[in-house]
């Protein structure tokens, strides 16, 4: 089978799954009706995200057999995508030119327009897919991790209503995500980009009866829209500069030499890159638009793992990597990218230090890790950014799913202050999460070590890097190790701090949940071994497959980087070993420090004493939400809306009503004038006539007899006069 020409099917399987779920899912899962009816009652019992009926003890639910069909179709669709992806990537590997495009049809057709140079061009956006090394990494991550999370969710969501709705949305998400990463142009990428945002909105608000869930969904969508506005403008600029939005074409133009790197100052290319990056800060939760991601944890935990950790939030990193030809021409914007990444990394790590909600710690950790990816991309080490994206997908999905398993065991409890000593009660969850926490802390041999260490080294040594940013990265690494192990110790070690009823209920999760955990744990151990440092020259080149695989996409930079590395010379090997040792030592130190604080029994969270006056600020996330609310939501939007609304009613419409009033007023005036002056003159004439006619009227009685009398009298007088004469 020629999988390469069938790549358009890869996103289509999940779409078919989603359509099945959303159209006939209700019939497959009749209990689903009650999701809406029961939901409020259940929500009252549970504060946690796991809104479903854990309180209704296990085994009381009788799901129809057709529900198993849902649990089969939905992950099955992703499995098909995974198989087709594997086939396509295998075939791609055997091609000489590692790029394959399939165009289904012309989506938005063009009308002519003038580019910035005045040339006439035509706009076209195809429904087209591009499989190259970069997109192949993405589709493998999305379908592999996506499949495991789907399987996990069949267990995790078993007690929730709206089963079909959940899987419908989840499948729909995978469709949009695959469209995003497979698109061959910015417009289709944007379609996927907005689509994953929609699914994120729907899934964050899955427990829609909760106001907090609705609020979080809105916040996510609207904050993302702000980024999207930047993305759109960036896209238009790119279109106007290069005459196209198709990746291959744009890169061709940018690499053709007509554009020069904007080393002298912030030019039009830098502006374009900056606008695109604004889009990335929205989707990938960077400063200043990161605020939606922690709130997004209102969604069910598999959603947090898939969308808000492993895949969707990395779309911004992917997009920047995809636009590497542009960013390599814009050193100033790249520096901004690196700076924003570093600032986001340390800011969110500092917040993660003190959070008590297990999912919130992981959410801020995700924001922080995304910051690392942007540090790498900003330093020009695109392949390292993608490498960290890939390893992070394993260990962060693992940690989220692990935390879901903990919450599952704890009957919906998410506050780590009420956990403790779970180590032996849910051993599989513990062991796998242990692996994930070691991996993210950067202990040698596990996935996180390879990618994070490479980022630090690149930021330290690459031409676009910076020593100051390196130090920020190092401090963040220490914080990461600390907050992750604070989480581990609070959850699994020490004394149990939960109430009786919860304690009685604690149980290991079913196989549908623990098997994905185990597989992801294996991935967290092994995934990094295809990107070992160059320094480890004792290992054969095949241990560095990842970088070589991506070389065709980042060719230009790879060549430059190799050049730079040679210039740096071999004398730096000692330095590199030293830095590596330093970061490992810091990680181990931070873990031991966490152990010394939390490894024993405690009443008040030791971090409070440690951070002192800062504790409240950190717990309240530096008050960023409050400031944003005050400035933008209440001030600009609601305040501005109210003000303008009043302006509209009083001034604009007031003018219209005023014109109406004026018309009525003048018409009253005219009527008065008409009655008393114009008509008055007429009536005055009549009055005068009446007055002057008064004597005459005395005889004008209108009686025929009187007239006859006068007539007779007259005739008599006349005849008398004649007779006298």
């Amino acid at each position: 089978m020629n999988f390469l020409d069938l790549i358009w099917l890869i996103p289509l399987f999940p779409l078919a799954g989603a359509a099945t779920m959303l159209l006939i899912g209700r019939k497959l899962d009749p209990q689903g009706h009650s999701d809406v009816a029961l939901a409020p009652a259940l929500a009252a019992e549970h504060g946690g995200d796991h809104g479903g009926g854990h309180a209704h003890a296990h085994g009381e639910h009788h799901h129809p057999a057709t529900r198993r069909l849902i649990a089969f179709i939905s992950p099955g669709a992703i499995l098909l995508s995974l198989l087709f992806s594997l086939g396509a990537v295998a075939q791609l590997a055997s091609l000489a030119k590692k790029s394959h495009e399939v165009i289904l049809y012309t989506w938005i057709t063009g009308l002519p327009f003038h580019t910035a140079t005045g040339a006439l061009s035509t706009f076209t956006a195809d429904w087209g897919f591009l499989l190259d090394p970069l997109s192949s990494v993405m589709i493998l991550v999305v379908t592999f991790v996506g499949f495991l999370i789907h399987v996990y969710a069949t267990g995790y969501m078993a007690h929730d209503g709206g089963y079909y709705r959940f899987f419908g949305y989840l499948n729909l998400f995978v469709f949009f995500m695959l469209t995003l990463v497979l698109a061959n142009n910015y417009a289709l990428l944007f379609a996927g980009w907005e689509g994953v945002g929609l699914c994120s909105y729907l899934l964050i608000g899955f427990y829609f009866h909760k106001k907090s869930a609705g609020d979080a969904g809105n916040k996510a969508f609207i904050v993302n829209r702000i980024g999207d506005a930047g993305f759109l403008l960036g896209m238009f600029l790119l279109l106007s500069l290069t005459g196209s939005i198709q990746f291959t074409r744009v890169n061709e133009v940018l690499n053709s030499g007509v554009f020069h790197a904007e080393t002298a100052g912030f030019g039009i290319l830098s502006l374009t890159a900056l606008f695109l990056f604004i889009g990335a800060t929205g989707k990938s939760a960077q400063v200043p638009l990161y605020v939606w991601l922690p709130d997004a944890m209102e969604g069910p935990t598999p959603v947090s793992a898939l969308i808000h950790a492993a895949t969707m939030v990395t779309a911004g990193v992917y997009m920047v990597a995809r636009s590497n030809a542009l960013y390599s021409l814009t050193p100033e914007t790249s520096a901004i990218v690196m700076g924003v990444g570093a600032f986001t990394a340390i800011l969110s790590a500092s917040i993660a230090l003190v959070q008590n909600d297990i999912k919130r710690v992981l959410a801020y950790s995700t924001v922080s890790q995304l910051g690392y990816m942007f540090m790498a991309a900003g330093a020009g080490a695109y392949w390292v950014a993608v490498f960290h994206l890939y390893t992070h997908a394993f260990f962060k999905a693992l940690l989220f799913l692990g935390s879901g398993s903990v919450i599952h065991a704890m009957s919906g409890e998410q506050d780590m202050r009420h956990m403790g000593a779970l180590k032996d009660k849910i051993p599989t969850t513990f062991k796998t999460m242990f692996v994930g926490s070691v991996a993210i802390a950067g202990i040698p041999g596990l996935a996180g070590f390879f990618s994070k260490d490479e980022i630090l080294w690149q930021v330290f040594s690459a031409p676009g890097g910076s020593k100051a940013v390196y130090i920020v990265g190092l401090i963040t690494a220490a914080m990461t190790a600390f907050y992750m192990w604070r989480l581990m110790f609070m959850t699994f070690y020490g004394e149990p701090r939960m109430d009786e009823a919860t304690a009685k209920h604690i149980h290991e999760s079913p196989a549908s949940m623990t098997v994905p955990l185990t597989i992801l744990a294996a991935g967290s151990i092994l995934a990094g071994w295809i990107g070992v440092p160059k320094l480890w020259s004792f290992l054969p080149e095949s241990f560095r497959t990842f970088e070589h695989w991506l070389e065709p996409v980042f060719m230009r930079h790879a060549a430059e980087a190799a050049h730079g590395a040679h210039d740096a010379g071999h004398g730096d090997a000692a330095l590199e070993w030293g830095l590596m040792g330093l970061s490992v030592a810091i990680a181990i130190g931070a873990i031991l420090f966490a152990r010394s604080l939390y490894g024993k029994a405690w009443k008040v969270d030791p971090i409070e004493a440690l951070t002192g006056p800062m504790h409240k600020t950190l717990l309240n996330k530096w008050y960023v939400d409050e400031i944003y609310n005050y400035l933008f939501v209440d001030g600009l939007v609601k305040g501005g809306g109210t003000l303008l609304g009043r302006f509209d009613r009083r001034v604009v419409d007031g003018g219209v009503n005023g014109a109406g009033w004026l018309t009525r007023f003048t018409s009253t005036l005219s009527m008065w004038w008409d009655r008393w002056i114009i008509d008055g003159a007429v009536r005055l004439a009549a009055l005068l006539a009446q007055i002057f006619s008064f004597p005459v009227r005395l005889i004008q009685t209108g009686q025929v007899q009187a007239y006859a009398l006068v007539f007779l009298l007259g005739v008599g007088l006349f005849l008398g006069w004649r007779w006298m004469a």
Binding site: I108, P112, F208, D215, I222, F236, Q246, V258, V652
Partner: protein, 521 residues
Amino acid sequence: MSPLSLALWTPLACLFVLLALPSSQKTAIKLWANISAVLGLLTMLPLITGYDRSNGGFQFVERAEWIPSLGIQYYIGIDGISLLLMVLTAVTAVVATLSSWEAIQDRLKQYYAMLLLLQVGMLGVFASLDFILFYVFWELVLVPMYFLIGVWGGPRKLYAAIKFFLYTLAGSVLMLLGILTLYSQHWTQFGTPTFEIDALLRLTMPFWMQQWVFWALFIGFAIKVPMFPFHTWLPDAHTEAPTAGSVILAAVLLKMGTYGFLRFSLPLLPQASMDRTIVQVVVGLSLIGILYGALVCLMQQDWKRLVAYSSVSHLGFCTLGIFSLNPNGIAGSVIQQLNHGISTGMLFLIVGVVYERRHTREISEYGGLAHRMPLFATVFAFAVLSSAGLPLLNGFVGEFTILQGAFEANRWWAAMAVPGVVIGAAYLLWLYQRTTLGQITNAKNNHLADLSWRELAVFAPFILWAFSIGLYPKPYFEIIERPVARIVERVRPGYYQDRPPSPALAQAPHAAPHTAQGGAR
């Protein structure tokens, strides 16, 4: 009879049949009204299939003397732009008629007669090629709409109906002055009386006169669109009108204004339309409309009023596109006019559904509707997403193309319009959350029935259309490409040639690509 005349007069013929039906036969009247609407839609088929996309001129042209001494003719014909708007009219008529089945209970015969008369007027506006004929249809539309609002409307119906009628009439009178100026110019320059559009295209007028005529027409069209600050009749008329009236008002009537710009202002007065000051004023008003309308939406307490203000914002995009004066801006504007009809039409139907059940439009009266009306919630979500311009639905295609055109004309315009997209999502999602999500807090909402089959059938055409435009907009672009090119060529001769680079972009490369389509195919 040509297909165009057939399409134009079928509703009137149906109206006569309707008048012959006895008032007591309510079901028969309703049935016939729906049949008439479907017939009206069927008469569009020959126009769609017979339309030649490669021809940018007027097609299905028909001409007959009317008042020869004054040069007034019965002269009709359509191009791609009018075709799309006529189809929109016919579809909207079907939807509006079916949506009235339960909502309207008294004076049925008169009600449906008004709907049919309205349809004749709207179709006539889009088909007329004689300025006086156009004016007659333009004014004809006012009458049935006045009665629809004034008789079958809400509590403040009289105020709203009179405001609507007088406000638009005031604009039309100025427009008539402009028309008469053109007429007298033609008389002086060629010695023959005519109101024919193609004849008036030959006029050569001094710039100052073009300017005066432009503003006279502008007031007439801008009130209809409505552009800021002429928009305040709209919230009142929309809010008080019966559901079908609001749907037609939003979907079609407002487009008469934008259509006027495209058909008359731009081609007849190219120099005035290109003038820097004029463009800046009109675009400025459009941008204000986009942001202002969106912000005002955020504080509305009345569901229907909110949707009405969203129209001000969306129509701002349409006029922005038109006065970008380039193919993408204008084509995007036409597509967006369709889209606005579809998405705002749906939003008004949505309000109609709950209003029929609860007889209130206060947003705070609702909440948690999804629990009792999941189907309604789904349809509402589609309407919201379509209106918010989500890709793969219709709204995105129009907005994207307009913004691209605006960007080409002036980067700042696009940059200033884009926040409108953000706030658009905000007020729609917030509306959705307040009415549909959350818990049911008002006991009166506890026993609401979900959408019936009939109601679902009302939404179906719009939903399907929204998807088809969003997924495959190409045919629409093909239909309007030539007519748009004609307008652009008229206003900016030589647009379709390469130009020297603008000095503002000294940074840009000198050798540039000439086509956008590269890559494998």
